[in-house]
Amino acid sequence: MTGESQLLDMAKTGSLPAFEELISLYEKKVFNYCYRMTNCREDAEDLTQEVFLKVYRSLPSFKGNSQFSTWLYRIAHNICIDKFRKQKAVVVPLVKGEEDEEREIQLKAEGPSPEDILLSKEQQSVIQKGIESLKPDYRSVIVLRDIQHYSYEEIADILKLPLGTVKSHISRARAALRQALESVL
């Protein structure tokens, strides 16, 4: 099996089949990142396409100073942020309506351990709404850290932020999300 760095070298010289293999390795992760950032499958698919298009075009200039995955996520992050800017960063406040009252869920881990919890679609939707209520930078660190499990160092590299800033972003993003989900926690 061809290794990632070999695929990367081949893709840099213009091999589309090699790039297709790279896409296969990362498309789901990038799609998920975009989906968690936008809470919209159609937008996530469009953005994922934009990300890989930009990556393919940028490959000749990729020097390998950072890992390919880090670079890929940085581009994904920037494309999502650009989209929010274009939409004038519409932030949806998590205001409870009558319908939401009925859909209120219980997330407290009483009984089964967190690993045993299989989140229902409804629960996922409430959490996703909570994430959507955060400002884009906070959304990004929650997705990268708590859903996709990147390390603080990797997130600092992706977002091009100092480690200290990443730490405080993660703390504050979690505090904001906790507040947004207060009624269900």
């Binding site: 298009l53 393919y56 075009r57 940028s58 000749p60 997330l107 996922q124 499990h149």
Partner: protein, 265 residues
């Protein structure tokens, strides 16, 4: 920030094992004494465990094929339409594009006038011209381009338009040895994959702000001499640099630079 606020900020790092032992110990002492912070700790762990169990979303059927087809389509377009002939994305971009395009027009004209006037080594546009051109572009860049073309058609010299002296593009290329000096650059490339988005990635990697991406061109904001050097070095790797623009005025360091991608024959 009171004690609890500070501790609650640290709880997040504590859960991730990012606190050093001494701070962790202080936090644990506080948690043993403060029920509010314990409740915060508990709710944060529940929330994080819940996020941890969020399933990976499956892309829709045919997602991979649509992705590959989109890339193939875009590549076909890029190959079929050379960047300099492509339409612009937005009418609103005309103003900025016009300024760059006019500079190119002037340079092309300059080759002819230099031949007529037998001039070989002159400075780039002189200050009064810069001001005049800038004002003209601000008013209506397209009209300005038309005015220059019209003047050429009528056999008027650039001096008649207030254009005093023009530099030979070859001289500009030779002088641009190790940094980007002006606000407009033609990048002559052989690889058809190199498009403005390629430079977007390059800018991202080097901490250079992207102002605007156009069809066939990108506008970057350079704020330091180091960025000018980095940009020159990176562009050199992709193709041949031909500086076509104006140098910053006075001590001004911050400048928006338009880079046009020009496929080489």
């Amino acid at each position: 920030m009171n004690d609890c606020d500070r501790m609650q900020e640290q709880i997040s790092e504590y859960i991730d094992g990012m606190l050093d032992t001494e701070v962790s110990d202080q936090l644990l002492v506080h948690l043993s004494e403060c029920s509010d912070c314990r409740a915060y700790y508990h709710s944060l762990t529940v929330m994080m465990d819940t996020l941890n169990t969020m399933p990976e979303e499956e892309p829709g059927d045919g997602f991979h094929d649509r992705l590959i087809n989109r890339i193939k389509d875009e590549l076909a377009i890029t190959t079929a339409i050379p960047a300099q002939e492509g339409p612009l994305h937005k009418i609103g971009n005309w103003a900025k594009w016009g300024a760059g395009a006019a500079a190119v027009v002037i340079l092309l004209l300059s080759v002819r006038f230099l031949g007529d006037l037998n001039l070989s080594r002159m400075k780039v546009y002189e200050a009064p011209l810069i001001d005049k051109m800038q004002v003209a572009h601000d008013e209506n860049p397209i009209q300005e381009e038309m005015r220059i073309f019209q003047a050429d058609e009528n056999g008027e010299s650039l001096e008649d338009l207030g254009i005093n002296s023009i530099q030979d593009p070859l001289v500009l290329e030779a002088e641009a040895s190790d940094s980007i000096h002006t606000d407009a650059v033609d990048l002559m490339v052989q690889d058809v994959r190199i498009v403005p988005e390629t430079l977007y990635g390059l800018a991202e990697e080097n901490g250079i702000d992207v102002v605007l991406i156009l069809e066939g061109a990108i506008i970057l904001k350079l704020t330091t001499m180091e960025q000018r050097e980095i940009l020159h070095r990176e562009l050199s790797r992709l193709g041949t640099i031909l500086e076509t623009g104006l140098e910053p005025k006075g001590d001004q360091e911050i400048q928006e630079v338009t880079i046009r991608i020009v496929p080489e024959e």
